[in-house]
Amino acid sequence: MAAPPRLWRHGFRAMASAHEIVLASDSETHARSVAEAAIAEVARIEAKYSRFRDSSLVSAINRAAGGAPIRIDAETAALLDYADACHRESRGRFDITSGVLRRAWDFRREPPRVASQREIDALLPLVGWNGVERDAHAIRLPRAGMEIDLGGIGKEYAADRAAALAIDGGIAQGLVNLAGDVRVWGGLPDGRPWRVGIRHPRTEGATIAGIELADGAVATSGDYERCIVVDGRRYCHVLDATTGWPVDGWQSMSVVAPLCVVAGSGATVGMLLGEEAPRWLASEGFRWLGVDVQGVVRET
């Protein structure tokens, strides 16, 4: 019997974070060439959709806010359709126009400061996916100062695209992890499922649970990466677009789905829905694992 293929790990950085691609192959050269193609695809998606890059399509759309429509291609239209579905499912709490709230919520500021209701009220008129004019070929943000931001979708989509390219490249078993958003396929070469550890929301370096799966995706949203603590209260970067305030129902929410983009948005919507999350996640048929505010693991 032939030996199972070896796993080749390729670490790389993009989108200001660390990622890895693990590919099963008999040949290191093959694994490397496939990994390079997958990494190039991640870089392409970053260049196209990063709000931090002046040359990106997202930056062009944001610069044109209040002005003329911007032409979009089919890939972008599909992502926006998906963002629209998330907006509906979350009853407006997940909103790709909510990024302007960062002008009030600076989670890197020293010393940390809680936004005032007045600052938030001044920004809320710029938040509103329902007001965005779009069709399959163009998008226009109606008011100057509005912004879109594909956080919660773009990186997860990149993980799915990288996995798709690797599968097309002949890799039957592999794993793509973009800063904690994980897509796996084919199981481990020895036949066991992949084991995805869930990061502990309060202790760096620790895991709080594990999820086994052969094919699919696990994505996690949490209150721990960009957050401030003021007067003993934690304010995290997951903002409810309907109120402008951080949510506080979960320390961490992980969702399992066939695609990473679905798992990622499912995790974010789960965070946003707070107490209603278990019911919504069940109705969507998601397998999930959350850490509640007491630090207790709850799961399907």
Partner: protein
């Protein structure tokens, strides 16, 4: 945990009968990595300082300081990690210890203290040791006592200001067998009570006390004609968690011309699993209210460590050395029985470089 590579020694070590006549200052740098098939890696980089200084004719001061910077995860069980976006894992540990020994004609008394601090863990220890030797200096008896207080504050709220207290006793004898051989045998007892659970492992519940008895014997044999020394060590340890471990080690220290020393070594370690350890997949065998752990460090396995140290002594008391250790752990390498099933091979390597100066 790899981070706890070495808590500064609180149990007295070798049985020097006379005060060293030189001070030593050394700087060391450790680079540690571990890995499993297809798994993410953890890296530890530790600069360390060590000072030994005799003073006022009969006193000796020894102190050390170490900083561990860690990055990457050490999942052991997982292939990858899912988490909110971030910069990856970073953590640290700082630790220091100091000891003062007063030498007399036929005995020496030492007192020491040690502190180790991590984000969620604080350990403080104090120790006292007495060594007494016969007039012909062929036999030394050692008695040691150490107390350790640990405070555990996991940020997930599971361990909230938990404590653990440990007392250690040591009795040992060192005997010159002949001019070229020395044998040392130490018996240590440890009694601890308090918090032993791993707060970051779901369902992990361990007894609130631990008793350890360990017996360590070393044999150092020098071969003057070959300008070499052979060091053998053997240790057996049993604890109240139900684990019994055996360690045996051999090193050959070969002096070479022009101040070079080459020191290859091989160590074998094997342990049985703790009474309450349960094999993967998690959480098989969990009964609410009973002790339970899926921590692979409590599993049954065997492990080999191969090491090589190369040192070079220069003029004016300078010494430089480089040491590489390679560690591999497998269930199937357990001695005298099957290892715990379902655990991946775990590998690690250490590279240590150091320079020291006698003064």
């Amino acid at each position: 945990m790899a981070a706890a590579l070495a808590l500064p020694g609180v149990v007295p070590g070798a049985a020097a009968q006379s005060i060293p006549d030189e001070g030593i200052f050394s700087v060391r740098y450790l680079d540690y990595r571990d890995w499993q098939p297809g798994a993410d890696r953890m890296t530890v980089r530790s600069p360390a300082l060590f000072v030994q200084k005799p003073f006022a004719a009969t006193w000796l001061f020894e102190g050390s300081l170490v900083y561990d910077g860690m990055s990457g995860a050490s999942p052991r069980y997982f292939n990858t990690l899912s988490g909110a976006s971030g910069e990856g894992v970073k953590d640290y540990r700082t630790a220091g210890d100091a000891r003062i020994t007063r030498y007399h004609d036929r005995y020496a008394i030492g007192v020491g203290g040690a502190v180790s601090s991590e984000r969620d863990f604080l350990s403080r220890a104090g120790s006292l040791d007495v060594r007494w030797w016969t007039e012909d200096r062929n036999t030394t008896l050692a008695f040691g006592f150490a107390g350790t207080a640990d405070r555990i504050n996991s940020n997930n709220g599971v361990a909230d200001n938990e404590t653990r207290y440990t007392l250690d006793w040591l009795v040992g004898v060192t005997q010159s067998v002949n001019p070229d051989a020395i044998v040392q045998s130490n018996l240590t007892f440890s009694r601890g009570h308090g918090y032993y659970d791993d707060p970051y492992k779901p369902l992990d519940t361990r007894p609130d006390y631990r008793r350890i008895v360990a017996w360590l014997t070393r044999w150092n044999q020098s071969f003057p004609s070959a300008d070499a020394t052979m060091r053998l060590a053997f240790r057996v340890l049993h604890d109240s968690f139900g684990t019994t471990s055996w360690m045996t080690e051999a090193q050959w220290v070969q002096s070479l011309p022009q101040g070079w020393t080459v020191q290859p070594g091989l160590r074998y370690y094997t342990q049985s699993e703790a009474d309450f350890y349960r094999n993967p997949p998690f959480p098989t065998g969990y009964v609410p209210g009973e002790n339970y752990s899926a921590d692979t460090r409590l599993a049954a396995f065997g492990a080999f460590t191969a090491s090589l140290r190369v040192a070079k002594a220069f003029a004016d008391g300078w010494t430089g050395d480089l040491r590489i250790d390679f560690y591999r752990q497998k269930s199937s390498w357990r001695f005298g029985g099957d290892g715990s099933p379902g655990i991946d091979t775990f590998s690690a390597r250490w590279i240590q470089a150091g320079i020291s100066k006698a003064f």
